[in-house]
């Protein structure tokens, strides 16, 4: 699992003095954008105009680059992201930052379902709301949502942290493994094997760090912590009604 500290201390060469490269998707295909990003060098900056909800924007980044998308993104924006930083000044579609490995993805608006699905590391920040299945099968990614999240979020979440500053929908953390969930608002219902757990000093400290990394000022003391009861870690016929 990539920790928050590692995310913060990633050290890339300083950006060059050159102006950010501008890609206008009203004139250029997404293929050109992604090809350029795959050939980019650490420290470079890119600005994307007129994304128009196109899919697969800025996917497969593997360098310490900074990308700003001015507008709405479609499915799988910043998919399989590594090392760099992507900011979306708009909303994001299904599968935002799918399988993110490291680096940071920040959506200033809302995100659709399955945000940060299967993410292995890095930080995903959603200032607005996220849809259903946020953080599904998360494997080490940290997710901070400023608003609410939908049902079945963190389903089968294996590792990482999900922070929700608003409310959570039904079946939160269903079949959760070792991921940790912090929710400030209400939880409609908890899924199988997910329970509320005490907030200890180390959790308050961890949460404070996550909120700070997301640029938020919420008080960690207002949150509750949820995680696995670990009752379903081994198949047992006596638990058959839980599945």
């Amino acid at each position: 699992m990539v920790t928050l500290i590692e995310t913060q201390t990633q050290d890339y060469p300083a950006a060059t003095d050159e102006l950010p490269a501008l890609v206008d998707l009203a004139d250029s295909p997404v293929r050109d954008l992604n090809q350029a990003l795959h050939e980019a060098l650490d420290g470079q900056s890119w600005t994307v105009e007129n994304p128009g909800g196109k899919h697969s924007l800025a996917v497969g980044i593997d360098a310490g680059v900074s990308v700003t998308i001015n507008g709405h993104a479609g499915y799988y924006a910043a998919g399989m992201h590594q090392k760099g930083e992507v900011t979306i000044n708009g909303n994001a579609g299904v599968g935002l930052a799918e399988n993110i490995m490291s680096g940071k993805v920040h959506v200033k608006g809302d995100a659709s379902q399955s945000a940060a699905a299967t993410g292995h590391g890095g930080l995903v920040v959603i200032d607005g709301n996220a849809g259903a299945r946020c953080g599904i099968s998360m494997k080490g990614v940290d997710i901070v949502v400023g608003g609410n999240i939908g049902h079945m979020s963190a389903f089968m979440a294996q590792a990482g942290r999900l922070v929700v500053c608003g409310d959570a929908g039904d079946a939160l953390g269903d079949s959760i493994y070792e991921a940790r969930i912090y929710v400030k608002g209400t939880v409609a219902s908890l899924g199988a094997d997910c329970i509320e757990k005490p907030m200890k000093a180390e959790h308050l400290e961890e949460l404070a760090g996550l909120l700070a990394a997301a640029g938020r000022t919420d008080d960690p003391a207002d949150f509750k912590r949820y995680g696995s009861a670990r009752n379903l870690y081994h198949f047992s016929v006596h638990n058959s009604t839980s599945y």
């Binding site: 293929r31 497969g60 799988y76 998919g79 399989m80 599968g95 399988n99 299967t118 294996q158």
Partner: protein
């Protein structure tokens, strides 16, 4: 499952059974009785590996029509019969060019030992074909020994990362498996060692559930966008396969093509598995024989047969099976269970150890227990060290060569200078069921049940 539940002889000698006039029920045979007794004793359904054991219409129910007067055969051992195949040239700029159309199906590190995965890579590479990762990610041993490696993109996304994606020669988006279409997996904790757990981001020793569907898409339109993402990440170089468990192959193939697949992989119900519920293995999905014509029909109607390649798996054992699958319209086949047997799975030399586990060579299927004496379906260091990956690779390469040569022999007899030239007209069926499923005439007739 123990041998007693597979219909082994009862405690009474056969002669005594006859003398007493005892009659076994066809409905409640000894295997069924043993299953009921086991269920009553444990309260849990049987979980096992391998694949379907029931008899269903299969390639054995087809025969080739060797050439004589109306067709002209090629000289065996003299005239050339090529075997190479190109997979994934619809969109990818770097399709796979394999020397034989027999490939190795996806089997995970976790289900299999690292030595077994390495042996598969060595054997496949020696004959110029591909091997495939599985649910658990790519191991260095496998990548290092595999000239052509297909990286599976699975619902669980265990071990999935873009670095390995870029190292892959092809990507196989797995929607289903022949042994369990619609079902997820259950790798019991015995096999979740520190290394397996690390690759899957799970605690050591706990049961590992594999999801039945992908977490971030919900249908064919989403799949099209997902494939677009994978192509963008790999700069449109890498072929994208879509693997389906055979249940509705006509519709699933058409939708996979619509979603942009370069290659469609159809896995019939005789396909193997590391571990799932026996009731699933034996009762969900359709036979490989029935699946191929449906998939081919979909490709033909779209005008993309041979342009989007079709790989067929599920019960391939011999070169005759390979040739029959290709004659029905497949471009290549994949083997799983047969490859494990070639490595040494269920080898009689471990008879005493199989017996100690209540099984026998040829019957052992408790892969989920992680106690495989042959060192193949285990993570136990002592057991897995029994499999020499170099020797295992050599045995697999031998087997793959035999499959290829057997298929060539049949193809020459049918007058074909390339395996891909085999066609349905080279085949007849022995049974009405096989005739209807394979859509080839019943032997000695021109009748295909259901044909218009």
């Amino acid at each position: 499952m123990t041998i007693t539940s597979l219909g082994a002889p009862s405690a009474l000698p056969a002669r005594q059974v006859e003398e007493l006039g005892l009659r076994e029920s066809a409905t409640f045979d000894r295997a069924t009785i043993a299953d009921i007794q086991r269920a009553a004793a444990t309260g849990v359904y049987d979980i096992r590996g391998w694949g379907a054991k029931r008899k269903v219409p299969h390639f054995d129910d087809l025969l080739f029509l060797g050439a004589s007067m109306s067709r002209y055969p090629l000289e065996g051992y003299r005239e050339k019969c090529d075997t190479d195949v190109v997979l994934g040239d619809r969109y990818a700029s770097k399709p796979l060019h394999l020397q034989t159309p027999v490939t190795i199906a996806g089997m995970s590190f976790g289900a299999l030992s690292a030595n077994a995965k390495e042996a598969l890579g060595r054997g496949a590479s020696e004959v110029g074909t591909s091997t495939t990762t599985g649910d658990g990610g790519m191991t260095p041993e496998e990548r290092g020994q595999s000239k052509h490696l297909v990286y599976q993109y699975l619902p669980s996304r265990y071990g999935m990362n873009p670095d390995d994606l870029r190292k892959a020669d092809a990507i196989e988006v797995v929607l289903g498996q022949g042994a369990k279409p619609g079902g997820g997996g259950m790798l019991l904790g015995q096999k979740i060692t520190e290394r397996v757990a690390g690759m899957r981001t799970l605690p050591v020793g706990i049961d590992q559930r594999s999801a039945s569907r992908h977490p971030d898409w919900t249908g064919p339109d989403d799949l099209e966008i997902k494939i677009g993402e994978l192509r963008e990440i790999t700069d449109w170089k890498t072929p994208i396969y879509v693997k389906i468990g055979a249940s509705r192959p006509y519709y699933d193939t058409a939708l996979a093509v619509k979603a942009g697949a370069d290659v469609v992989v159809v896995d019939g119900m005789q396909g193997g598995t590391a571990a799932t519920q026996q009731v699933f293995i034996e009762n969900v999905g359709i036979p490989t024989l029935a699946a191929i014509p449906q998939a081919v029909q979909a490709l033909q109607e779209l005008g993309l047969h041979r342009k989007v390649q079709l790989i067929v798996s599920g019960g391939i054992r011999t070169g005759a099976d390979v040739a029959k699958a290709m004659a029905l319209g497949a471009d290549a086949v994949a083997i799983g269970t047969a490859a494990l047997i070639a490595l040494g799975d269920n080898d009689p030399r471990y008879a005493a150890e199989y017996a100690a586990m209540g099984s026998a060579a040829g019957f052992y299927d408790d892969f989920q227990a992680g106690r495989d004496p042959a060192g193949i379906t285990t993570q136990d260091p002592e057991l897995s060290s029994r499999l020499d990956p170099i020797e295992g690779g050599r045995r697999l390469a031998n087997y793959l060569r035999v499959l290829t040569m057997e298929a060539q022999t049949i193809a020459r007899a049918c007058g074909k200078s390339h395996l891909r030239n085999l066609e349905p007209e080279d085949l007849v069926a022995l049974t009405i069921e096989a005739s209807a499923m394979a859509r080839v005439p019943l032997a000695g007739t021109s009748w295909i049940p259901g044909a218009k």
